[in-house]
Amino acid sequence: MNTLRFITAGNVDDGKSTLIGRLLYDSDSIHTDQLGLLEKQTKQEGVTIDLSLITDGLRAEREQGITIDVAYKYFSTKNRKFIIADAPGHEQYTRNMITGASNSDLIIILVDARKGITTQTKRHASIGSLIGIKKAIIAVNKIDLVEYSEVVFDAIKADFENLKSNLNFDEIVYIPISALEGDNIVDKSTKTPWFEGDTLLETLEYIEVPSSENLASRFQAQWVIRPKDEENHDYRGYAGQVLSGSYQEGDKVKILPSGIETTISKIEKHQQTITKAVAGENVVLHLSENIDISRGDSIVKIDELPITSNDLKTWVSWLDNTALQIGKTYILQHRFRKVRVKIQSIDKKWDSNEWQFSKANGIGLNDIGQISLKSNQPLFFDAFTDNSKSGNAILIDETTHNTVGALLFLA
């Protein structure tokens, strides 16, 4: 049993909360005390439980009836553990949606069958794809309100297919649903006999999550273990997570930035020696020579070198109220390595409404664009399209320490 993390995105009234409520309710994941509370809160006549009330957590959210920040919800079936990032739909809270999207394997984009593809749909698709999500489900919701029409469903599908070339998704699944009525959520609906695909839950259960195990091997020293006590006098191990690929005892590796070449002499996991470590595992690497390695230094295989450069071209998704400033110095954090960077230029801006690049006259809150930066020390990275683990970084403001931008490296 593995984990699937997914985010739900959609317009404010597209039924996102109802959908999540439905998934939790139908998978028996709501506790009776919580159900009791919901029954109390449900005010609509003729409805026993308003499923949409399950998700909103903060006082201000309940007061305004909107989602402000991401809430994480959990459920499991016998095949998978699911982590849902229930993200806000309002443009004002886009940065919170980006937080949820950045940790998701899949995005469910809800489209109201009566309204079709909207500006919000395009914005959410752009963000999800840019931030690194590879799998998308376009859930055409409220299909009951268009008389379960195949024509409507096909038209929406065709519209989204037209947007595809600008997106990095490697799989897009279309499903007609009614979150309120439960059509095609868990069980196949008898009202959509024309639909031959899997239900939403089946799709979530069986869709394959791409593994980063087959990508180039990347590892950065996260923490150096040097006990210096009597028993472990000469122990020096580099703890960290295998970001992608795999490492084996005996691998010839290069240390960056020093450029020194050496061999992996031993790999430990929780103090047990193992012969091979794969993507995602936290291990301790030992090298055959005593080399000075600091946090953030890369250990890579000599035949799989990353891009090395001080001149960077990236996508940026801007997250701060204060706009990006050309010429200003920021801190760039690439996993565990921090360098100082200066923004050289804004090259392009993406207009998700017009679905094309527009003139770059500045990058402010919630904007997406491409920029050029110069760093004071070299970075060792991959293009984000080649490696989602070493292809991204964050930008931190030097004075406020806020995370102001999400960066994705271009080749």
Binding site: L37, D69, A71, K73, E231, G280, N282
Partner: protein
């Protein structure tokens, strides 16, 4: 299928990664340790993250003075067994020092008062990060919190102004005076915690297993009699086989009827139970819908 594709391994990998990141990014972190199952799991994860080295942080217990003696004994036993430093901050002392008013009522909770001792401990020891065992599935305000949750000079959480947290890149830079609460097992559910405890056969205080105890029946809940809670004339007092699903204060944590003698029994119990962990056992969370959110805004864990 490689090891890392199993969900418990994925959760473990995420938690160890966060613990090492906390050690690396902060000057003086601390691990908040209550003697409960979640913080015991955190200690085991820290052993995996840092051995054969020492922990780069002390264990800190905020002792309310109303703790179960079994939890306190287990706390001392574990700290001693792993040979790590334990700091105890006393709520009793902050009550005296600040002349704090205790909550009134039959089953008074010192939950809100814990914040004073916690903030004092942070200030006196200059902690810049406190690692806690809170999980997002526990409660709806917790469901919203980041892994690195920034708190201001007063320890307060501002849920409407949380920092973006991109991928698993954690930004621990904060303004002077601010500090960070770190939640490595954010994405674990109660059941995940128990499955993990079973997988690695982690030792726990015996409170978690069924035992005979004298309890007062209060609104369908079982509250153990103790030096703090004495039965009154009209109380229904029973002797029942119970266990604790959560370990909080003796004054406001309810026991649940159970015959579970092993971890597997407990797992079966939880799968059967349709009531949430806090809903079943915490008298103080039922005061209002936003009880946890309000406490967090004041600087609570």
């Amino acid at each position: 299928m490689s090891n890392s594709t199993h969900y418990l391994n994925q959760l473990e990998d995420e938690a160890i990664y966060i613990l090492r990141e906390t050690a690396a990014q902060f000057e003086k972190p601390a691990l908040l340790f209550s003697g409960g199952k979640d913080s015991i799991v955190l200690v085991h994860l820290a052993l995996k993250a840092f051995r054969p080295g020492k922990f780069p942080f002390p264990l800190v217990h905020i002792d309310t003075g109303h703790n179960f003696p079994e939890a306190i004994a287990f706390r001392d036993y574990l700290a001693n067994q792993i040979g790590e430093k334990l700091i105890v901050a006393s709520v009793e002392e902050s009550i005296k020092k600040y002349n704090l008013k205790e909550t009134s009522g039959r089953f008074p909770s010192r939950n809100a008062l814990q914040t004073y001792a916690l903030l004092d401990a942070i200030q006196d020891n200059e902690f810049d990060a406190c690692i806690g065992g809170a999980r997002r599935d526990e409660e709806k305000a917790r469901a919203k919190e980041r892994i690195f949750s920034v708190r201001d000079d007063f320890g307060q959480w501002d849920p409407k102004l949380q920092r973006p947290e991109l991928w698993d890149i954690l930004n621990g830079k904060v303004q002077k005076g601010h500090n960070v609460r770190v939640f490595p097992i954010s994405n674990w559910t109660e059941l995940d915690v128990w499955n993990y405890i079973q997988k690695y056969n982690i030792e726990l205080p015996n409170l978690y297993f069924a035992h005979e105890r004298e309890c007062i029946v209060h609104h369908d809940k079982l509250v153990a009699t103790s030096q703090f809670i004495q039965p009154l004339q009209d109380d229904t007092v029973v002797n029942e086989k119970v266990r604790y699903r959560t370990v909080g204060d003796m004054t406001c944590t309810a026991a649940v009827p159970s015959t579970a003698a092993t971890i597997q029994d407990i797992i079966d119990d939880i799968i059967q139970t349709r009531v949430s962990e806090r809903g079943q056992t915490r008298l103080d969370d039922q005061l209002s819908e936003a009880a946890m959110e309000d406490r967090k805004k004041q600087g609570y864990f």
